[in-house]
């Protein structure tokens, strides 16, 4: 029965993450990056601060959208909090590969690995990636996500 696949997709860790605010540290003064998923209307404003050593010192990703996009934003914050720009970009690329290509999640992705089964739901890939591609943009990465 299809409920199995759905149970994988909506595991408690995801449902709970979606319910939590996606924010960490101090983002005062950050210029937010705006991202939308135009086909369905998911929306977020990602605010990022790096400290003088280039580490993420604040990240807020308030998201209106589905469970997947909200969980993804909140898990993102947990995973990259306190990381350097380079570390955060690597994690982002690994997350994107996990969702897009189904590559196994490295340990560093932590709870965000719970989103791996989105790969089995191609219509929801965009929801899972919204926050992560916005972070890439905020970190000033070039090229297609």
């Amino acid at each position: 029965m299809a409920l199995n696949r759905l149970q994988q997709l909506y595991r408690s860790v995801i449902v709970e993450a979606a319910a939590k605010p996606a924010t960490w540290g101090d983002v005062s003064g950050a210029v937010p990056v705006h991202a939308v998923n135009p086909s369905c209307g998911d929306k977020l404003e990602l605010a990022l601060r790096l400290d003088e050593t280039g580490r993420i010192s604040g990240l807020a990703v308030p998201t209106t959208g589905c469970t997947i996009s909200q969980a993804s934003a909140s898990l993102l914050v947990g995973v990259v909090a306190g990381k350097t720009r380079a570390e955060a970009l690597t994690l982002t690329d690994e997350f994107i590969a996990m969702i897009r290509e189904g590559t196994p999640a490295p340990a560093a992705l932590g709870d965000a690995a719970a989103l791996a089964s989105v790969h089995e739901f191609p219509a929801r890939v965009k929801c899972a990636l919204l926050a992560w591609t916005a972070l890439r943009q905020a970190l000033g990465a070039k090229g297609a996500a």
Binding site: R5, L6, Y10, R11, C40, G41, D42, R124
Partner: protein
């Protein structure tokens, strides 16, 4: 409710032979192809394909006759006075843009008002919003009633001598509510020197249309929402108005004469049909009208009854919020409290029920309803009673699934 009739209609749609278990409830986004439409297109492609309006040989003449025959068929189907009032376009969106860019630039200026509703599809909202920005005219946006219908009283009360264009959906795509008295609006706007455009993208599938009785000046629709092919649609325009309108797209097939110094245009409708036309699409559109016309009343009556029943059954599920009108004849828009529309759509998809979730190209309406997204199920000729039962059961199950504690580790 005649289960027999549905079975027969359903058999006309080969998609359900290929996917017998699929519950397709997205007819309002794009329709499925009945076999006769496919056959007509394939037959043309294999035995009659040739350029139209350009060839002096028999194959081209016959193709042109078939093409122009569909123009006459459309004119008859919607009650136009002559086939010259029918312009082929790539769809409703292109048709409305043509009116906004050509007619709109002639008749709207600073001090004018253009009246739309908050329930319009982006395709009948953005072209007017831009026209107003470009000309300095005011965009007047009518609200909806509690049942999701365009507030026609409000519209009537806000038409005045500045109102140059009123552009409204004959049937809105989220609530499925239909205009009750387009004629009264037409009369009021005409009395004030303005013009009425009806967006028939959703309406034409469900009701007999007579543009003269409706009193509208323009009527736009798409083939793919009336069981025809994608990439083709029509603009109906009153001949006197089409005659005054300049072309927007220039190219082959719409000129009288061209020289290095200048060009003169053919009369309507050719004036608006630059470039090689979607001949195969036009042929398919003709076959779709042949399919729909004799069945439309029965299909609408059948779907209306089923839609009403399903609406009641959905309303009986705790936490279900309904956004579609009580009078909708094929549209069920709803949400489940605490569950985002996308999550619900994915849940339904896992039960092989295809519904749409999102803003439905109606963001002004989403703002007015204060929801980011809704789920919409739309019915077609092929929708079975069992399809409806599966939808209701799956929504119930979704409520348990998302509400319960039964998630995996």
């Amino acid at each position: 409710m005649s289960e027999e009739l549905t079975k027969q209609w359903r058999a006309d749609f080969p998609l359900f032979t290929a996917q017998p278990d699929l519950v397709y409830m997205d007819q309002g986004a794009t329709g499925q192809y009945p076999q006769p439409v496919i056959d007509a297109m394939m037959n043309f492609a294999t035995t009659g394909n040739a350029p139209v309006h350009r060839g002096l040989y028999r194959l081209a003449y016959d193709a042109t006759s078939a093409f122009e025959g569909v123009r006459q068929q459309v004119a008859d189907f919607i009650g136009a006075r002559t086939a010259n009032e029918i312009v082929f376009t790539s769809g409703t969106t292109a048709a409305i843009n043509l009116v906004a860019q050509s007619f709109g630039r002639l008749f709207v200026d600073q001090g004018s008002e253009v009246l739309v509703s908050v329930a319009e599809h982006h395709s009948n909202f953005l072209p007017w919003q831009r026209l107003c920005e470009q000309t300095g005219a005011k965009l007047v946006v009518a609200p909806i009633t509690a049942d999701g219908a365009i507030d026609e009283q409000w519209v009537l009360a806000h038409i005045n001598v500045h109102t140059r264009i009123v552009a409204l959906a004959q049937e809105t795509n989220v609530s499925g509510a239909r205009l009750q008295d387009a004629r009264a609006i037409a009369d009021r706007v005409h009395a004030n020197g303005g013009y009425l455009l009806l967006d028939g993208a959703q309406g034409l599938a469900h009701q007999a249309v007579d543009v003269q009785a409706l009193g509208c000046d323009f009527y736009a629709f798409s083939g793919h929402k009336i069981y025809g092919p994608s990439g083709i649609g029509c603009l109906y325009g009153r001949q006197e108005l089409l005659t005054e309108m300049p072309p927007v797209t220039l190219g082959g097939g719409m000129i009288e004469e061209v020289s290095i110094r200048g060009a003169s245009w053919l009369p309507a409708p050719e004036r608006f049909e630059a470039g090689s036309q979607n001949v195969l699409g036009v042929i398919g559109l003709g076959a779709a009208i042949d399919y729909l016309q004799p069945r439309r009343a029965a299909i609408t009556s059948y779907c209306s009854t089923l839609t009403r029943q399903l609406r009641q059954q959905l309303a009986a599920i705790p936490d279900v919020q309904l956004y579609s009108s009580q009078a909708a004849c094929a549209t069920l828009s709803f949400n489940l409290d605490g569950v985002h529309a996308h999550d619900l759509a994915t849940f339904l998809d896992e039960q092989n029920i295809a519904v749409r979730a999102g803003h439905h190209c109606a963001q002004p309406l989403m703002h007015a309803l204060a929801v980011p997204a809704v789920v919409r199920a739309t019915l077609g000729a092929y929708t079975s009673v069992r399809d409806g039962q599966r939808l209701v059961a799956a929504v119930q199950q979704a409520r348990e699934f998302f509400g319960g504690e039964s998630h995996g580790a």
